[in-house]
C-alpha cells in the first residue's frame, strides 16, 4: 500500500531531519497508523493532510515518544531524528526539548505569560532573570505576540484570547530552541486573521527550523508546505511535492478526491 514518493522536492537536497521507516502505531489491538515511510528534510515545511481518524496526531505523538506516557500506545518501526534512532535515545527529555509541539486547542498554562514562555528554559536549568528576559522577549516577538502582551506579562496565559493563547503556545514551543516544530491543526480554534499571522510567522521560521504542519485545511497545506503527505484511515496514501497534489500528479485517486473536496 505504501507508495514510494518521487524525490524531487525543492527541499530534498537538504539533509534528512526526520526519517520514518515502516512506522506502525497501535493502541491496544487497535491500529491507528501503519506502513508509514517518509523523510522530512531540514528547513522544509512538511504538510500532513487527511480527514479525522487518519492517524495524524498519533504520528506526531510517536515522533515525540509520547508513548512513554501512555501504556496503551505501541510504536513499531523506526523513527530517526538527526540520524539517531529515537527509540534508542537515552535522554528522551533532551529529544523532546529539540522538538516543539503546538496543539489543536491552545494550551495557555495557568501561569503568567512570562512564566509560560520561561517554563522550558527553567526546566533545563536557566535561572538568570536577565537571560530569561531575553528569551521571553525574543520568543514572543517571533510568535508575533510581543506587541500585544508586553505591558501585561504577568497576566495569566489562560486569560488571553484564543488566538493570543495559540501564539503564546508557539512562543513557548520556540523557547525550547527547537530544531523541529510540529503543529497539529493549529488553526482550529483561531480566527482567520490570526491564522494568517501565524502562517506568516511559520514562513519566517522555516529559515531556522524544520516544520511539520498537520492540517485539516487543504488550502493551508498548499499555501505553506513544500511537500505534503496524505493520511487516510491509518495509512499514508501519498507523499509528494505539495503542488503536484493539487495539479493532479498523484498516485492514488483518493488523494485527488480529497484534495478536490469530494470527501473528508
Amino acid at each position: 500500500m505504501v507508495i514510494a514518493p518521487p524525490r524531487r522536492s525543492v527541499a530534498t537536497e537538504q539533509p534528512v531531519k526526520l526519517g520514518v521507516t515502516g512506522l506502525r502505531i497501535r493502541y491496544g489491538d487497535q491500529t491507528a497508523l501503519e506502513g508509514v515511510t517518509l523523510d522530512v528534510h531540514e528547513h522544509e515545511i512538511f504538510g500532513i493532510i487527511g480527514p479525522a481518524n487518519a492517524g495524524k496526531t498519533s504520528f506526531l505523538k510517536a515522533i515525540n515518544r509520547m508513548d512513554m506516557f501512555n501504556t496503551d500506545m505501541h510504536v513499531e518501526g523506526q523513527i530517526t531524528f538527526n540520524g539517531l534512532d529515537t527509540r534508542k535515545v537515552r535522554n528522551v527529555y533532551g529529544l523532546r526539548r529539540r522538538i516543539g509541539v503546538v496543539f489543536p486547542l491552545p494550551v495557555g498554562l495557568p501561569l503568567s505569560v512570562y512564566d509560560n514562555v520561561a517554563l522550558s528554559p527553567r526546566l533545563r536549568g536557566e535561572k538568570h532573570k536577565a537571560e530569561l528576559d531575553v528569551i521571553v522577549e525574543r520568543c514572543l516577538r517571533r510568535a508575533a505576540l510581543w506587541d500585544e502582551v508586553k505591558d501585561r506579562l504577568d497576566t495569566l496565559g489562560s486569560m488571553l484570547s484564543g488566538g493570543q493563547q495559540q501564539r503564546l503556545t508557539i512562543a513557548r514551543a520556540l523557547s525550547q530552541d527547537p530544531e523541529l516544530l510540529m503543529l497539529d491543526e493549529f488553526s482550529i480554534a483561531v480566527d482567520p486573521v490570526t491564522t494568517m499571522r501565524i502562517e506568516d510567522v511559520l514562513k519566517e521560521l522555516r529559515q531556522e527550523v524544520t516544520i511539520i504542519l498537520v492540517t485539516n485545511l487543504v488550502q493551508q497545506a498548499r499555501r505553506l508546505a513544500d511537500r505534503t503527505a496524505f493520511f487516510l484511515d491509518g495509512r499514508c496514501v501519498e507523499v509528494g511535492v505539495t503542488e503536484d497534489l493539487f495539479t493532479g500528479e498523484v498516485h492514488d485517486q483518493r488523494t485527488r478526491d480529497y484534495v478536490e473536496g469530494r470527501f473528508g
Binding site: 509520547m66 506516557f69 509541539v101 494550551v107 498554562l109 495557568p110 517554563l119 533545563r124 495569566l156
Partner: protein, 289 residues
C-alpha cells in the same frame, strides 16, 4: 393559539406539586440542623466565658473550664495531620500521576474506599493493637493521633486525587512535550493548580478528626487529667470524650455544662468548615482556566 390545553394545565399542576414536595423535603432537612444549633446556643452560650475556655475543670469536673480538653483536641488533630497529610498526598499523587491502570492499582483504590467504610470503633481496636501495644507507644497522643490519621487517610487521598484529576490532561501533555519529566510537570503545573482542592480535603479531615470519639477512647484520650500533656507520649483529654464524660459519667453535673462543651466542639468544627468554604470561594474567584 396559546390557550392552555387540559394536558398543559395538568402538567402545570403536577409540576407545582413536585416543587412543593421537593422544597418541603429540603426544609425538613434543615430543621434538625437549626434545632441542634439552636438548642446548643440557647443552653450552652451562657456557660461560655474566657474562664471556661482557658481553665481546667474543677470539683470533679462539675465546675471550671475545658482548657485541657480543648488543647488536647487541637494537639490530637495537629499530630494526626502531620502523619496523614504527607502520606495521603504522596499516595494520591502516585496513584493519580504515576501508577499504571492495572489490577493492582485498582485493588489499592478499592482498599482505600473500603478503609473509608470501616467503622471508627474498628479503627480504635486496630489502634490499640498496632500503636499502643505493638509499637509500644502506650495510650498516648501519638497512638491516638496515628489512629485518627489512619481513619482519615481516605479523605485526604480521595480529595487530593480528585483535585489532581481535575487538572486538564492537556496541561500535562504540553509540559511533557517540552521535555519535562513527570515530576517537573507535577511540581510546576499540576500541584499549583490542585492545591485548593487538596487544602479543602485537609480542612474537611480536620473537622472530622476533631469530632471523633471512639478511635481515641482506648488509644490516648483520658477521662480526667490534672496536668497538661508534656509530650506526645502522654495521654490527653479531648473535647469529644470530655463531652461524653460530662454528659453521662459524672453525677450532679450542672445542666448547662455539657451544652457548653458541645457548643465549643461544634463551633470548632463549623469554624473549620467555613474556613474551607471561604478558601474554596476565594480560590475559585482566582480560577485559572
Amino acid at each position: 393559539m396559546f390557550e392552555a390545553t387540559q394536558l398543559n394545565r395538568r402538567n402545570e399542576t403536577t409540576q407545582k406539586l413536585f416543587r412543593l414536595a421537593l422544597g418541603g423535603m429540603t426544609g425538613l432537612l434543615i430543621l434538625p440542623v437549626i434545632l441542634i444549633l439552636g438548642t446548643l446556643i440557647w443552653k450552652g452560650a451562657p456557660v461560655i466565658s474566657f474562664e471556661f475556655l482557658f481553665t481546667g475543670p474543677t470539683k470533679g469536673m462539675t465546675a471550671g473550664g475545658i482548657f485541657p480538653a480543648l488543647l488536647g483536641t487541637i494537639l490530637l488533630v495537629l499530630v494526626a495531620l502531620l502523619a496523614s497529610v504527607p502520606l495521603g498526598v504522596a499516595a494520591a499523587i502516585y496513584l493519580s500521576e504515576y501508577a499504571p491502570d492495572n489490577w493492582f492499582t485498582r485493588a489499592i483504590n478499592l482498599a482505600i474506599i473500603n478503609l473509608a467504610g470501616v467503622p471508627s470503633i474498628v479503627h480504635a481496636l486496630f489502634g490499640v493493637g498496632a500503636f499502643v501495644i505493638f509499637f509500644k507507644f502506650g495510650t498516648s497522643i501519638l497512638a491516638a493521633s496515628l489512629t485518627l490519621a489512619i481513619m482519615t487517610l481516605p479523605v485526604v487521598i480521595v480529595a487530593t486525587r480528585e483535585s489532581l484529576q481535575a487538572v486538564p490532561e492537556a496541561f500535562r501533555e504540553a509540559c511533557w512535550n517540552m521535555g519535562a519529566t513527570r515530576w517537573q510537570t507535577i511540581r510546576r503545573v499540576v500541584l499549583p493548580n490542585a492545591i485548593t482542592g487538596i487544602l479543602t480535603g485537609v480542612i474537611l479531615e480536620v473537622s472530622r478528626t476533631a469530632g471523633e470519639t471512639a478511635p481515641i477512647m482506648f488509644t490516648g484520650a483520658a477521662f480526667f487529667l490534672p496536668l497538661l500533656p508534656q509530650s506526645v507520649f502522654d495521654q490527653t483529654m479531648a473535647l469529644s470524650l470530655h463531652l461524653f464524660v460530662v454528659s453521662t459519667q459524672v453525677p450532679n453535673m450542672p445542666e448547662q455544662l455539657p451544652y457548653g462543651v458541645a457548643l465549643v466542639l461544634i463551633s470548632l468544627v463549623l469554624l473549620m468548615n467555613s474556613l474551607s468554604i471561604a478558601l474554596r470561594m476565594y480560590l475559585r474567584g482566582k480560577k485559572k482556566w
